[in-house]
C-alpha cells in the first residue's frame, strides 16, 4: 500500500508529502506519525507540503489534526512550503490552522524547530532503541 515516508533526522522527524493526498493516505499518515513520535520520542516534526497542489476540507482538517496530535505527544510541529493556492483554499474553508507553526520552506522550518526545541536538546542524539523515551528525560 502507498505510504508517506517518515524520515528521522536527529531529534526530528521529516514528513514530505510528495504524492496527491487522498483520504486513506492521510489516515495512514496520522497513524504512522503518531506511532513514530511515540517510538522515537522525537522533539520536533517538520511536515513539508510543498508538493501538495490541491486540498479539500478533509485533508485540511487532517493537517490540523495531525499537528495537534503531534503537540499532545510533546513534539513541536512546523508545516512548511504551503502553496499560495492551498493557503487561500484553507482560509476560505475556515481552516486557519490556529496554533500550528508554519514556515515558507524547509530551511526556515528547521531553524524554527531548532529554536523551539532548544539548542541543548538538539545536540543529544536519540537512542536507536529508546522506544519508550517520550517527553523529558
Amino acid at each position: 500500500m502507498e505510504k508517506i515516508p517518515i524520515l528521522r533526522m536527529g531529534p526530528f522527524l521529516l514528513v514530505t508529502i510528495q504524492v496527491d493526498m487522498h483520504d486513506r493516505l492521510a489516515m495512514t499518515l496520522q497513524d504512522d506519525l503518531t506511532n513514530r513520535i511515540a517510538q522515537t520520542g522525537a522533539r520536533g516534526v517538520l511536515m513539508d507540503i510543498s508538493a501538495l497542489d490541491i486540498v479539500d476540507s478533509f485533508i485540511g482538517r487532517m493537517i490540523g489534526n495531525i499537528s495537534s496530535m503531534a503537540r499532545i505527544l510533546d513534539a513541536e510541529i512546523v508545516v512548511v512550503g504551503m502553496q499560495p493556492a492551498v493557503a487561500i483554499t484553507l482560509v476560505e474553508l475556515g481552516l486557519t490552522l490556529a496554533g500550528v507553526r508554519t514556515a515558507l520552506n524547509v530551511e526556515r522550518g528547521m531553524s524554527l524547530l531548532r529554536a523551539a526545541v532548544g539548542p541543548a536538546e538538539t545536540l543529544l542524539p536519540l537512542e536507536e532503541e529508546s522506544g519508550n523515551a517520550i517527553g523529558e528525560d
Binding site: 508545516v79 504551503m82 492551498v86 493557503a87 486557519t96 508554519t102 514556515a103
Partner: protein, 291 residues
C-alpha cells in the same frame, strides 16, 4: 399607390446619392459640430459608407424591421461606428443625431420627387422615420454598451494597479491598500501577496490600510483572511495605518483583532518588522560632533 415605400427610398438614394451625401455631411456638421473629435474627411467617409449600406439594405429588405439579415451589414457598421465614437468621446446623443440628421436632406428630396402625391409622401416619410429611428436607437444602444466595456476594463485596470506589493527590506513586504476592499479585491490582494511571499521569501508583511476609507465587518473579515493565509505560508502580518475613527468602528463592531499585530502608522510597523528580522536602526553621529 406606393407599397410601404421601399423602392422609392432605394431609388431616391440611388439617384441622389452624391447630393444627399453632401447635404447630410453639411447637416451633421451644422447640428453637431465636433470638428475637434473627428475630421471632415473621416465624417464624409462614414456618411458615404452608411448611405451605401442603407441603400443596399432598403433595396432588399421588405419592411421597417432592422433586425433582419438584410440589415446585418448596416447594423455592424453602426455598432462599430458607435463604439469608435464612444471611445473618441462622443455622447450617445451626438452619435444618434448623426443618423437622425439624415432625415432632413432625405425628406427634402422626397418632397421634390413626390410633388403633389401627398399620400405617397406621407407614407414614405413615415416609413423612413421609423427606419432611421430604429437605426438611431441601435447606435445609442451600441454606444452605451461600448461605454460599459470601457468602464469594466478600467475597473479591472484599477484592481491591478491599486494592489501593489512593495518590498521594503530584505524579508519585509508592504501592501499599501487604497480604496474600498471588496471580495474581488481581497482575492487579488491575497493572491499577489502570497505570490510575492514565495518569490521574496519574506517573513513579515505589512498591510497598510491608510487608504481604505471605511472598515466594516466584511472588510475586517477580508483583512483577517489575508492575514491567516499569509500566516499559513509562514509569514507574519502587521496591520498598520489604522485611523482613530477606524479603531473606534472596529471595536464597536466587535471585530476581534487580538491575534493580529496592529500599529498606528506604517513607520511603527516597519520599525517592528525590522526588529523582528534582526535589523537595527539608529541615527548616525551628528555632523561635526567629535567622538
Amino acid at each position: 399607390m406606393i407599397q410601404a415605400g421601399i423602392s422609392p427610398i432605394a431609388d431616391l438614394l440611388k439617384q441622389h446619392e452624391a447630393e444627399l451625401l453632401n447635404e447630410w455631411v453639411a447637416e451633421v456638421s451644422a447640428t453637431a459640430p465636433r470638428g475637434d473629435l473627428i475630421r471632415e474627411s473621416e465624417l464624409r467617409e462614414q456618411c458615404r459608407e452608411f448611405l451605401d449600406l442603407f441603400r443596399r439594405a432598403s433595396q432588399t429588405a421588405g419592411g421597417s424591421d432592422v433586425s433582419g439579415p438584410e440589415w446585418s451589414q448596416t447594423r455592424e457598421m453602426l455598432t462599430a461606428l458607435s463604439a469608435s465614437r464612444a471611445r473618441l468621446g462622443f455622447t450617445a446623443t451626438e452619435t444618434a443625431t448623426f443618423v437622425f440628421s439624415l432625415k432632413k436632406p432625405l425628406f427634402a428630396r422626397m418632397r421634390n420627387d413626390f410633388g403633389s402625391d401627398m399620400n405617397g409622401f406621407a407614407d414614405a416619410v413615415g416609413f423612413t422615420t421609423e427606419l432611421l429611428d430604429r437605426l438611431g436607437l441601435l447606435t445609442t444602444e451600441a454606444a452605451s454598451k461600448a461605454r460599459e466595456e470601457v468602464i469594466a476594463r478600467q475597473q479591472e485596470d484599477m484592481l491591478e494597479l491599486s494592489t501593489p506589493v512593495v518590498k521594503l527590506w530584505e524579508g519585509i513586504l508592504a501592501l499599501p491598500m487604497i480604496g474600498t476592499l471588496d471580495s474581488n479585491r481581497t482575492q487579488i490582494v491575497m493572491e499577489s501577496l502570497l505570490q510575492r511571499i514565495v518569490e521574496t521569501g519574506a517573513e513579515i508583511a505589512i498591510l497598510d490600510i491608510t487608504g481604505v476609507p471605511t472598515v466594516d465587518t466584511l472588510v475586517a473579515q477580508h483583512l483577517l483572511k489575508t492575514v491567516a493565509a499569509a500566516r499559513l505560508m509562514g509569514a507574519d502580518c502587521i496591520i498598520s495605518g489604522i485611523r482613530p475613527q477606524i479603531a473606534q468602528t472596529i471595536v464597536h463592531l466587535g471585530v476581534d483583532l487580538t491575534d493580529v499585530i496592529t500599529k498606528a502608522t506604517l513607520a511603527d510597523a516597519f520599525l517592528l518588522a525590522l526588529k523582528r528580522t534582526g535589523a537595527t536602526i539608529g541615527r548616525a553621529a551628528p555632523r561635526g560632533a567629535n567622538l
